[in-house]
């Protein structure tokens, strides 16, 4: 959140930093380097399409999906999905949020993004009889563990 005005003082101070790079690793490769799931670009396109939903898109006074929630969903998918992670479904919610969900064999995992700092998670493992709910704010450590369980199935 660069709240400093320093970037606007460039004429007073000459920077030493250089952005020139001889690395042959393209930006896109850095982004998807080790583990991206094959479905990622399709799901990202679905999420971005939510942004064109108009007010009342569900006929029940739903509000448009907020851009920051779509962005958060994309960040989470990039961070927590591996090549072996099954494809999730994504759905808009009527309060401007986004839900990412997996219903795989015995595991149900739902991640509802109300805002970038209000994320509800519901996890259920029917085989082991485990059911958990989490209200996450900024600490998202648990997500990596939950999403990895999907890959192990």
């Amino acid at each position: 959140m660069t709240s400093s005005t320093l970037e606007h003082s460039q004429s007073q101070f000459l920077s030493e930093s250089e952005s020139w790079s001889t690395s042959t690793l393209p930006e896109s490769a850095r982004l998807v380097r080790d583990s991206s799931a094959h479905w990622l670009s399709e799901v990202v396109a679905e999420l971005v399409a939510f942004l064109s939903l108009k007010p009342n898109w569900d006929s029940y006074e739903a509000i448009p999906v907020r851009i920051e929630n779509v962005k958060t969903a994309i960040e989470l998918l990039f961070n927590f999905s591996a090549a072996s992670t099954p494809r999730p479904s994504v759905v808009p919610t009527n309060l401007g949020g986004v839900q990412i969900e997996w219903h795989q064999k015995a595991i149900d995992l739902e991640i509802e993004i109300h805002s970038p700092v209000a994320i509800d998670v519901c996890f259920e493992d029917l085989e082991k009889g485990v059911e958990r709910e989490y209200e996450l704010r900024s600490d998202l450590h648990i997500l990596e563990d939950l999403v990895s369980k999907l890959s192990q199935q």
Partner: protein, 276 residues
């Protein structure tokens, strides 16, 4: 409030910013910036427009956020700009955009005195309360604070302790030019970015301290300087003004103590401190 914190008579402060980020106000339009300016105009008679700041969130348990270089923008309407309302002498300003409210103090002129945190904090709180009242009166939506930050920018000038960028080890306690038995080429300069975790009483992360050290030259004299920027950022415990101010007070303590800890005793002497 400042008790027990290291205090310098001549701190190298160049800028201080207190900032809060909130849920974007969907109904906030360019015209509202003009209406809002009326409330501050007597004290901040100058106005500037700038590009929007991207939202920033401190999250934990995410490994790759900083490597996702995508930008998502709605193009169905022109973006409402970020406005600066600036004091006549340029030393203080308010920055406003649809999800951000910031107060900056900037050093203007060699003789300018730092008014101290308490004075800037009081101004920020007063101006923010005014902003909240404007948002309520114009029915622009709930003001839900989700991140806040405090930033200190220090301009470290060459003096009897150091005179060229290669001598960063004389400025910082965490930087060494000792390469042991191996030989390194001569250091020219260094650009450092360090992140520290801020933890709550329960040991869980609540924010981060970002420290950037950047070499520059003065455009007029060519003199080398280092800019050292310390930013404490995180989510307030509660999304109201009290929660926000509580985090800023805590962040200020972290920034001030860390600055003293990261810089050398020799440099402290030139800034005439620290006194408790």
């Amino acid at each position: 409030m400042g008790q027990g914190l290291p205090n310098f008579d001549k701190p190298p402060l160049f800028e201080v910013a207190l900032a809060v980020q909130f849920q974007p106000l969907e109904n906030f339009k360019s015209a509202h910036l003009g209406l809002l300016w009326e409330r501050y105009r007597d004290e901040f008679p100058l106005i500037e427009e700038h590009c929007l700041l991207e939202p920033q969130f401190e999250r934990f348990g995410i490994r790759r956020t900083s490597t996702v270089p995508f930008k998502l923008e709605m193009m169905d309407r022109p973006p409402t700009p970020r406005c600066w309302f600036v004091k006549e002498n340029g030393s203080q300003l308010i920055q406003v955009q649809r999800d951000r409210f910031i107060h900056n103090w900037r050093k203007r002129g060699e003789e300018a005195n730092y008014p101290r945190y308490e004075a800037i904090r009081d101004l920020f709180e007063k101006e923010l309360v005014e902003f909240a009242s404007f948002v309520a009166e114009e029915s622009l939506g709930p003001l839900e604070f989700n991140q806040c930050e405090i930033t200190y920018v220090n301009e470290i000038e060459p003096n009897s302790v150091w005179c060229e960028h290669s001598q960063l080890n004389r400025i910082l306690t965490v930087f060494s030019d000792d390469s042991g038995e191996q030989e390194l080429p001569k250091l020219e300069n260094a650009n450092l970015r360090v992140r520290f975790l801020l933890e709550g009483d329960d040991g869980k992360p609540i924010g981060r301290l970002h420290v950037n050290v950047e070499p520059r030259h003065r455009a007029d004299s060519g003199k080398p300087i280092y800019f050292m920027t310390l930013t404490a950022r995180g989510a307030p415990k509660t999304s109201d003004v009290n929660g926000l101010m509580h985090f800023l007070d805590y962040g200020r303590q972290v920034v001030v103590k860390s600055f003293a800890s990261l810089t050398s005793k020799e440099m402290h002497g030139t800034w005439e401190g620290p006194h408790d």
